[in-house]
Symmetry: C2
Subunit: 234 residues, 2 copies
DNA sequence: GTCTATAATTTGATAGAC
DNA sequence: GTCTATCAAATTATAGAC
């Protein structure tokens, strides 16, 4: 069956070229500027050909979302193996935000455009039954549970609630950068670190080495802690 | 000059009708569905007439943004006079989130569509020289400074950074509701409260009456605090 | 599989009559 | 001030030749 396989392989190649061109357009001009004609021009095929590989523009968009989400996951992967749960979470979320600001149009397409797109991205990367969204959610929730078990988070903290809130915080940081660059803004890293501190705060318990200084809010008296925080934007 | 005044008044009336119709379309179908023709049909005028009152579609969008932002500010106003800075901030941000989820298309138009729109909204409501964005920012930053002065926030907390981070957090909560309704989600109020607690946390110092129980994260040992948190979504 | 050609819409915006 | 009529340009999507 070599002939049939070559044909499907060639078909696959063109599919990839279509997605490549689409990705370039989206990254350069944003999703709103993505049209079938523009894609066709870019790959030097007729618009009609696109419909042999994708049902419509929406299917191309969904494919791009799956790609983009996979790319995001890939950028998080190096940090998943960090032993300490707090450091793991901080590294993951820093990478998450970095991805968002470095690939604004991709991030926007996946998370800020159509509610169905992120759903498509999640369902696509299904592993062991449940989708990639669930898996990512668990990843964070489990780390929070670890911290709770170590007494580094309040026992009253619901890890599901905190996961959602933590995600919302980081998403908000990215989203504001993308659509509301209005204020004389704080460097990105400074805001991210402040947020991570607020949520994961003083995580030096059980680590012994007091790596993260307890830059924690006070309960009774004002602490003598004084820490300037210069930081570089992305 | 009664005649001229009547004419400008009548002109103003039509301008309002255009904006009314536009607002309805945006609220019902979203900003993407707002077209000059649709507006003209709604008010039973010809499309050409619209151009006598607005230069183009973008100017209508900006006008809607100014309206929407003013509406948001209005919904925050009742809480600005709360004496306690922590309670004030919490009330303000709860109202902010509530506005966002109750007016999704308006919120989306102002904060999630075009970067220039939110700028227009801010500059429009200029008071005493600086724009409404600056004013709102100060509002939050000042409250944070109050809390800091009372020793209820760490002295190391930069109120400008925290303001931006706090805004990002609340914006993220709203934005995720609008564009990523994917998970079996936590009730809105629960997430908002968790976030407010994480940022403003145990604020019972100096209030005497211990109104807010110290649902704070631990530093050394696990606290006996146990608090179930049932809450209603909006 | 790929193309040409085109249908069918929808869009923002304007010229000129009244 | 308002309308009719229309332009010029996009868009998605398809029919049918090759």
């Amino acid at each position: 069956m070599g002939i049939a396989e070559r044909k499907t392989r060639e078909k696959q190649v063109l599919r990839e070229r279509i997605l490549d061109a689409s990705r370039r357009i989206v990254m350069r001009e944003g999703f709103a500027a993505l049209s079938m004609r523009k894609i066709a021009d870019a790959i030097e095929y007729s618009p009609a050909t696109l419909y042999l590989h994708f049902e419509n523009r929406d299917e191309i968009a969904r494919a791009l979302c799956m790609e983009g989400y996979a790319q995001l996951l890939e950028s998080l992967k190096p940090h998943l193996s960090i032993a300490d749960p707090a450091e793991r979470l901080k590294a993951i979320w820093r990478a998450y935000v970095a991805f968002g600001v470095e690939h604004p149009q991709t991030y926007r397409l996946v998370f800020m455009e159509d509610p169905t797109y992120v759903g498509a991205a999640f369902e696509s990367a299904a592993q062991d039954g449940d989708d990639a969204g669930e898996a990512a959610f668990r990843l964070v929730a489990d780390a929070l549970d670890e911290m709770k078990a170590q007494g580094r988070l309040p026992a009253s903290a619901d890890s599901n609630v905190w996961t959602e809130a933590l995600w919302a915080t980081m998403h908000g940081i990215v989203a504001l950068r993308l659509t509301c660059p209005v204020f004389p803004r704080t460097p990105l890293d400074t805001v991210v670190d402040a947020a991570l501190d607020a949520w994961l705060g003083d995580c030096s318990a059980h680590t012994g080495k007091a790596a993260t200084p307890p830059r924690k809010r006070v309960t009774r008296a004002a602490p003598p802690a004084k820490k300037a925080k210069p930081s570089s934007s992305s």
